[in-house]
Amino acid sequence: MSPAPLLELDGLTTHYVSARGTRVVPAVEDVSLRLDAGETLGIVGESGSGKTTLALTILRLLPPAARIIRGAIRFQGEDLVPKSDAEMRRIRGKRIAMILQDPMASLNPLFSVGEQVAEPIRIHEGADRRSAWTRARDLLKAVKISAPDTRVREYPHQLSGGMRQRIVGAIAISCGPRLLIADEPTTSLDVTIQAQYLNLLRELQRTHGLALIFITHNLGIVAKMCDRIAVMYAGRLVESGPVTTIFDAPAHPYTRALLESIPRMDDGNRRLTAIDGQPPDLAAPPPGCSFHPRCPDVMDRCRAEAPPAFAVAREQTARCWLAAPATVRS
């Protein structure tokens, strides 16, 4: 492993706590993973798996009810957990950028494109209006918007959907971030528009050496875009590793079932593998391994004891007793 990862999560645990502290929902539990500069990580999970809470934890944008209970978020060697809100504001948008769901809706209709692209530059770098405006125009050129000199003065409604996507991309890279987090960036988009957007993100990543985190439920996006994958289930990282390894040889039964449950273009009459039951309620997770009620390979041990993360192959880990080395298994 290379010595200094760009981002390293270590035992990160985030709980939602009710006002009186009586109800605790463990949304993210003991998540550890690493991301090197320029790499792409896909965090995959279903609704309620904790993937969005994990992203919000990294960005320190959690709602008031959520607490980071333990763990560290080391970004470029610094732990983000103890940082104050003011310090975080200097990091977000500058060193870590984000793109939210529905990129088309995240532009302000009342401000011109130039003002919106220039805003982070003025805030984070204290640039004056004129130089920020020039930079905004250059950024539009960088994301391949034709006639940037006129577009920079226009308003979002005057632009097509594809151009708006590009502008959201331009805002994200405006301050030269090292990490870009995209939460379900393409769920609401049509197939060809989705492909355009993913290509834009990949282009930005290559030209600016960004690391990317995709938060998604779509394994196709992971297959297309990512170097590594982290699969979340009921708040825990159940499997992680290089994307080809996991697609070829998933070690966790949940990952395997997910991969087999997806229809393919050429699979004709193959019956899809359905995962019985439904994801657990995070407020009352089952004892032991939280996947055991739905697991086709469940053993007695799984019902009583939650498995730790075992190393399966190079850089691949799985939280499953089946992946345990022989010495632990007995």
Binding site: V191, A195, P263, M265
Partner: protein
Amino acid sequence: MPGAQPNLLLEAQDLVKHFPVKRGVFSRTVGAVRAVDGISFSIDPGRTLGVVGESGCGKSTTAKLVLKLEEPTGGVIRFQGRSLGDLDGNGLGQYRRSVQAVFQDPYASLNPRMRVGDIIAEPLVTNERVSGAQTSARVATLLQLVGLPERSRNLFPHEFSGGQRQRIAIARALALEPKLVVLDEPVSALDVSIRAQILNLLRDLQSRLGLAYLFIAHDLAAVAHMSHTVAVMYLGKIVELGEARMVATRPRHPYTQALFSAALPSHPAEKREEILLPGEVPSPLNPPAGCRFHPRCPQAMARCATEEPKLRLVEGRFTACHLYDGPGAP
């Protein structure tokens, strides 16, 4: 395509739906949204026709026309050989019972104040003279058919997960023993691990009950997996129509090729040559002349701008494209 064929379940011929656009104090009609503009297709008993295309291509309008929620501006729909326009009140009632629908969002399509048993029984109560005991027995059969426990009938929709709600919606659609079920994005709102359950259920029901489906979805792989025949729509026209796997894996129309090339891969090693289309889908208010796809088509020729291509048999499927007119064609 030939005229009325009695062995077909449903046949649409030159179906047109224009929505007038009105402006000003006197609601002058200033134009028309040509949502569906002369399409023909047929559905055999017990088979699935999948319709794919991007937002605004007219696939949902097609579904509405088949459900008789909209009246066509032109063309005919024949059901079991009889034109819907010729049906009297009785015949129409019969048609409406034979064609049912399942919609995308099972959170919006079930009345939250009704018990599940009443939701499923409602079509029976309003359409048929049945005794309470008969209704109750029928609800029990339907619940069993969609894999829900008998006690579900006394519960309310909020007590069910998304996948279970979709099962309830399917049970309701089946209450009147329809011959055709319109499935409009039936799994898009569901979690990944649940989708396979519902897709498998729909397939089982088809083989057990001999149902025909009109399956509409933007997930290309799901459509290819579920359908016998696939129709690809672009701006109110069918551009390609044929056997599902053939269309999905060996498309001939340049739009179908671009659409399927943009679909997400199912494995990271799957490298597709992506065909990137310039621009976006034009407005159906003022579609381009000639072939509607020509302004974005990578293989457009001079005649594409003036002459509209007709659907013709090309390599075992129907394609509307001048590329396949043959060398001697005018």
